[in-house]
Symmetry: D3
Subunit: 232 residues, 6 copies
């Protein structure tokens, strides 16, 4: 049973978007996993084997305890009933308390489908009297993270301080050399620069060094005033 | 020095809008205060003396440690430089970590002016080399609470669970008999019913019994994933 | 030909969301129908037979003149061309003046698909020179109602006073005992409480006792100033 | 006691923005008035006397039963306590059921101040135990209309069909020859064209010929389904 | 290689929505094309042959250099992988710098699907190591235009002055006599009137005679202050 | 007569917010000015003389041709009629084509008042038959820039590429050593870092290195398709 599960369309999406949050959760002692939906290949300079190695290195850099690839079709991901079943079964097996899923507004069709799949599979996961694997389970928490193929800034629900984890995030990102994410890839601003500098911007927004935003469809609940005031 | 200070336009506004949050903060051991800007009088069935007694009773019901009335002009409150100075001096004296202020969108002119005053005085409070009282002080946190003369639902930033404190809130509200807030005031729905039932609605929104919403102009910062996941 | 047709994903959705509006329309002498898209079964404690009985009881409680179940696949509803054809044919047969359809933003995948189906089938219903059943017909009015699996409050277009019909609504809701909607189901707040209290909140928003919100994609048209001012 | 009162910053604002609604309300037999806050003069080609004559002609063209000018300072209108008192006293004297007030978002400073004044004075109008004129009175309805110095389209709450009253509206507008509103004023599009064509656009939005939008801060209440469905 | 490519669900959509922009681009010397996804037939009074003739006439009226019909299924358009492949191959063949695509919010199911197809195919167009036709190509620019089956006004990103091209736009629209778009079709306001008058409204919004709005998902980039100030 | 005039509440606001735009406009050969409303003093480590020197250095760094200080009261700025007259007279004297003004949403009361003043004075500037200085003049263009005391991201209307001018912007910002804006001021992130990194973020949003956002209340007009497509 996982505390936190990031569902990522392609290997490197989790690192790019919530790498800091992942490193932070691990350091806080939480059980953390990443579920990649597709291999992400082919890409111009990648291969299945290279991507697997890069992914393993990035996973190690973050210290994430669990990672799995669901093997759904890259480039052709569809939020259909078969894919929904696969992801549902994974949710029932991993039983995460909190899911981080891709945000729905994007121009990468795989990301759009992946976002919908997460909502749909989370709902199916609680069904009883079905032919799904395992026991009914309702993942109680769900936030969305920002995909990067559209340069937009939808309203965040919360912004998580990752100042102490920016180095791990960037180290994990830089593992994906075949994806053009090495630190020295190309002229300024290269994709690595973009990742760092957007974390800087969200850090500015909460008066710290680096941060990552999360979105929710529902209200953000506060259980104690102490918790609300912890950062003040 | 206060942990939490609610600035209220009239005595009873704090109880009506954030009575549950106030009771909760007191129970959590925080130092809590209410700063009423005006006496709220005259009203059709109230008087200065009655309102003072009702206010004292409500303050006791919530257990709030500090309450003061700034004596600014009721019905004619203006966000001018004189009123700004008065409120600034109070902020410098009370040095609250978190201020809860009235939200700006309202049709009660006193509430509109009070909201602006809170923003303006918070800024002035940090000024050095001024003829203001006391030492420069920047109240680090500020949220806004919803006033009730407009029946609107702007986007909340966080919603605070007050299920354990709804009784204290309602007891404090009911003290204001001269303001038509007694439990048995008039036919259903009376103002007391409205207060309880709106807390119920916000409770529904976070899957609990009763709650109160808060708004912020800036992002909501999360310092630990444990804190974010506490209620999940 | 119906004045008002509520399209519901599962039997009980119509009662939960617009039970008051249904009872009100019946009392006003309108011809009112409900079209359930699926049986809603299986559920943890339901069965086809139980659900049918509960649905019949709820229909009677509201006094709704017409109810039909389209038999589309529960849990696996898809807004595909076959389902579109089924719903289109029903629209052409029932010829409603006003359709109330589920709102699109939800995490229950069946609700999301049902909302899209309503838009799509309404459009197809007007097609001539097709192999669809019956005569071309454009349902002139369409509003959306709020589904409940997400605790959100999108902007309402109009809010309908159901103060005189809350008892019928709650009586209809309580018929669905197998769905955990009996009045005494579990501890406070149980689902029955949630339904009543949300109607209370929307009632507060229009200064009455109980109400239900409706949403539109287009502007709300006013034909006479008398009509606009009727409730003032 | 008036059914409908339009508060206008300058003589011609009522005609430009809600001339159709005014003519419609008169034809429906309602008691209708216009309260101009200032003379609107000086203007490049106007004078007090000319403006009065034009205003009288426009009032007659619409058939509005009551019109008054409050004589507040043109170009220097301020939402201060003195102006609030003047407008409050007028509200208490005229006792309108529905007020139409200028919308707050504008770049004409007089319009911004006038919008605020309407909210503030409506609130003051209900005060008891004051030195205000007349008896306490709460104008029960309030909508806002769109001023024209900013070319914006905020979300309308309702759109009123004025297809049968566009001629009267345009006739009233054309009375203000000194303000460049005669039909033949300048090249296409002249201000008269703009007024007609925007009414055409709002007419398009509700599938009719001509219309005018109104905005509200609160929800739009529906009292009967028959009323909601009247135009469907 | 085209400078500008309008993707239209049905022949006449391009003319109705961005006919002015098309004529303007042609007059500016740009290479302009229209890619119709379906034949748009059957319709009540049209036929394949009639529609082809009308389309040819409209194309000539605008002076557009290139027009193609992709032959996807009218009324049953689906944003599936097959259609995505077809459109992707067209994008790779035509290599447009700027694509204008239908906006996603509509009640015409074909328009909704077409909008999604454009986003998806644009993304696929850049894929290497695929079995798609031609060479990888990323169409660098993409705006969306407003479809007309919903009478809404989402926030425009830019509004393009077409005052000098309204005649060509209306001439092109009027070619579609079988679609009820002739100038003298029916009583006022007929569809031709609606098209002209909405262009008038958008013209008003930028202080000119006629205009058409475009929407973007991302920010609008300005390269020189001279360009930004050109129209001021 | 100026092409571009930035109205700034305090000396350093123009540099912080639109320093890149100012340098860019100068390099494009435009006549550019800055109008500071107040001295900005006292501040903790500044003095009138120091601030003047820093301002002169920053002005030189940007190459701006004209700078003036209106001498309105710092910390106590009010959007009253006297201040409106002062700013109006400046607008009539400087006759700018495009004004850049502070955005209204802020918690610094001087910024809020300054934003309102700009709208109000722009309107007054066109008044004839007044006792204002000079000739009537309507500044035809107006955008707003983002102030920094609230960490928010309202929707930009356009984002201006300043990649070639970031060095000049940062050089100008660093002149304000007394305001804690020197490059080496304090630990990371210091205010200088924040300014650079936010320009980086906006650069990311338009796929370039550095940029600054502008906001408008009205639509963004496009005069030629060539201009719209220049950056594509």
């Amino acid at each position: 049973m996982l505390d936190l599960l990031v569902v990522a369309t392609h290997p490197d999406d989790a690192e790019l978007s919530v790498g800091g949050i992942l490193a932070k959760a691990v350091e806080e002692g939480l059980q953390v996993g990443i579920l990649d939906l597709t291999t992400g290949e082919p890409t111009p300079r990648g291969s299945d084997e290279t991507r697997r190695k890069e992914t393993a290195a990035a996973t190690a850099a973050l210290g994430v305890q669990y990672r799995e690839n669901l093997g759904l079709p890259n480039r052709k991901l569809q939020a259909d009933l078969d894919a929904r079943r696969e992801l549902t079964n994974a949710f029932r097996r991993l039983r995460p308390r909190l899911i981080l899923a891709p945000w729905e507004e994007d121009v990468h069709p795989d990301h759009v489908q992946a976002s919908r799949l997460c909502d749909d599979a989370r709902f199916w996961a609680k069904l009883s009297r079905s032919d799904l694997d395992g026991e009914p389970y309702w993942p109680p928490g769900m936030f969305y993270y920002l995909s990067v193929h559209l340069r937009i800034h939808p309203q965040a629900s919360v912004v998580v301080d990752i100042s102490e984890h920016i180095d791990k995030k960037l180290a994990a990102v830089a593992c994906y050399e075949s994806q053009g994410l090495a630190k020295e890839a190309g002229t300024f601003p290269n994709p690595y620069d973009d990742i760092r500098d957007r974390a800087r911007y969200w850090g500015w927004s909460i008066r710290t060094a680096y941060a990552e935003p999360l979105l929710a469809r529902e209200e953000v609940r506060v259980d104690t005033m102490q918790a609300l005031m912890a950062g003040i």
